[in-house]
């Protein structure tokens, strides 16, 4: 096989893996939008907050220690223990559920029936508030995400694909990051679980009912408050998964909130209301931007991925404004 073709295939494989990571972020947006019509600007910050909380709990860090020390003249930073990753993940989940409750109780309960733009603005406020709270709680230094995820290129894949080069010295097997492989498995399990939850459980059906028609769902006894807490909790869980994966790549730091930028073209392409759409959209964006960079990047000075993802999404928007899997909005007069 010609080397360029092999390199192209490697780029496609890595694009698919990158797309899965984008989809993980996009999923959180979809869950909340689908159930409440809110475009959650805070989704990226939720991923950051969840990752900060997870690492903080694992390291036995005292939350708000700088504030406590400044107020009481103490010098405490750590409890002196380390929490195993699995237990810390469960505790972080509990924190995210608590966060969902607080968001519902103190913000969105008071905004029921408001225009979507008001709800969107509320999430902007929420994003900055949560970022500030995260800073005060856990500090702003960069932390290592040490939950035991594998890192580095897979030697097995490299060795077992080297033969494709038929002795070509320029090709020494495909590069696939082990972390990306794990992320793919987790994303598949996550999507299957979310689909199963929404199709086959009472709460999932209630969630879909609220998504279809708030008023009708209320009239048959579905608690809007409970459903919204449930949805924000699920989005918090997805944010935690995204935070773990992205945090393992770059360390846990405040720029983690910027991963939301990667989710926007995925949502435009896949649709704001479809869980499979987030996955397919992520894969198309991942492969599209990587292939474009590989093929045309050197001619255009490189760094094409950010803007090309949006161009690709725009092209899809022109022909299918609701996205590939989004619900078509038909308003009759």
């Amino acid at each position: 096989m010609p080397t360029d073709l092999l390199y192209g295939a490697e780029v496609v494989l890595n694009g698919l893996m990158a797309g899965v990571l984008y989809a993980l972020v996009a999923l959180g947006f979809v869950l909340i939008y689908k159930a409440s019509g809110i475009f959650n600007y805070a989704q990226g910050v939720m991923a950051l907050f969840a990752a900060l909380t997870l690492v903080g709990i694992m390291e036995g860090q005292v939350p708000f220690s700088h504030l406590i020390n400044a107020a009481f003249g103490t010098d405490i930073h750590h409890f002196g223990w380390h929490v195993p990753a699995f237990a810390a993940i469960l505790l972080t989940l509990a924190v995210m559920v608590g966060f969902a409750y607080l968001v519902q109780r103190f913000v969105f309960r008071h905004l029921v029936g408001q225009e979507p733009i008001i709800l969107f603005m509320a999430t902007i406020g929420l994003a900055y508030f949560l970022e500030g709270v995260g800073d005060l709680m856990w500090g702003s230094e960069i932390k290592k995400m040490a939950v035991g995820l594998p890192q580095g290129g897979s030697l097995w894949v490299e060795e077992n694909t080297q033969w494709l080069g038929f002795g070509n010295e320029d090709f020494y097997g495909f590069f696939i990051d082990k972390l990306d492989m794990v992320a793919t498995v987790i994303a598949v399990v996550l999507v299957l679980a979310l689909v199963a939850f929404s199709q086959y459980t009472k709460q999932g059906r209630a969630m879909r009912a609220v998504a279809d028609d708030h008023q009708a769902a209320l009239s048959v006894g579905v608690s809007l408050n409970f459903i919204w807490i449930l949805v924000w909790s699920l989005a918090g869980f997805v944010a935690l998964v995204a935070g773990i994966m992205w945090g393992a790549k770059s360390g846990v730091q405040f720029s983690l909130s910027l991963i939301a930028l990667k989710a926007l073209p995925v949502l435009m392409l896949g649709g704001f209301t479809s869980i499979p759409g987030a996955i397919v959209g992520g894969l198309i964006i991942g492969v599209g931007e990587k292939l474009f960079e590989f093929s045309f990047g050197p001619m255009l000075g490189g760094a094409t991925e950010n803007w090309f993802a949006y161009v690709l999404a725009l092209v899809f928007l022109v022909f299918r404004p609701q996205g590939l899997f989004g619900e078509k909005i038909i308003e009759r007069v």
């Binding site: 780029v11 702003s140 290592k144 405040f254 720029s255 590989f294 000075g301």
Partner: protein, 427 residues
Amino acid sequence: MKMKLGTMAVAAVMAASPVMADLVFPSLSYRTGPFAAGGIPFADGYADYFTLLNERDNGIGGELANVIECETAYNTEKGVECYEATKSQNPLVYQPLSTGITYQLIPKADADGIPLHTMGYGRTSAKNGKVFKNTFNYPVNYWDGASAGVNHFLSLNDGSLEGKKITLLHFNGAYGKEPIPTLTALSEKHGFSLNTIAVDYPGQEQKSQWLQIRREKPDYVLFWGWGVMNQVAVQEAANIRFPMENFMGIWWSGSENDVLPAGDSANGYKALAFHNVGADFPVFDDIRKYVVDAGKAAGAGDQVGTVLYNRGLYAAFLAAEAAKDAQAASGVSDITAAHMRDAMEALNITEARMAAAGLPNFGPEFQVTCENHGGRGDVAVAQWDASAKSWSLITEFAPADASVLNPLIEADSAAYAAENNIKEGCK
């Protein structure tokens, strides 16, 4: 009641304003936002050194130093707002702490007669003081860094890079593109091939770039990154098993923040350095005694001795030394920005001076003149030891290749002078 309110308002304004006799050193810091992890230690080091001088020496020449912090979040617009908001308080020198902010402030500083110190960043050709009269970029600039990187690779290859491949992986913006002209000129001089690969902001996803590096197999990778771009690049280099000792970052890609997340796989990564590393200097004993232990540290006191804390402290040391010179030259302790500018233009940093401040061999010796606002451009190379979790200098401070850099600086500053109708010359 009105009287009471008025009195309270005046008192509040007076409390919020600096005492006019103080020596004002604004700090355009960024303690929030995506780059906070880099901004906090620098701001802490800058503030703590002045606090040390106030607490231990009763200030500088009898005048207390007053550091006014203004939060920029590393945002150019906010940086300019900070400058405008603080310039009426008789500031002596600004540290813009961002190449973007520096580019905006250069003409403003000229108009207001307030010096800028852009240490290791900003506009490289500001080294030509005949054009950039109020901007100083001693002791190094980006082109010095590019030259120092190539010099290091030369030293590893018996003085010849003929036929070697060097890749510049860089932030896709003014900062990241700064070294390209220098490296192009150096590639022609030394016969290596240069390839540049850009990474867009913020740089959390660099798979394409590292697959390209894996395909092209360069001998060395030079890296101009900042923020999350740094941590991801180090991790990706480890992922493709690129030899870390052949991967070298500019000084803004060479702090503990950049290598710790990658763990052991970051071992051997190199970075250029224009000041020393670690906390094994006498000044840190005083910092702990008079500042941290006294509860007067700008931050939590947990950054002392880190690379970026040391950089902030070094910037404060250079500003304080210039202020001392200005007091000596003018004969007044309450100096102005004009006195400061003139002192910065005649600054002579010697080993004796650094040792007297508790910073022996902390940075290169250098002298500033009107023609040369950037010093000699001496740079060292630091290397990360992942097991010890520490940086150490593996070379001495050595000068950049002036024969290549000076013509480039002359050409770029002449173009700026022509664009802005500036007459070149010294006082």
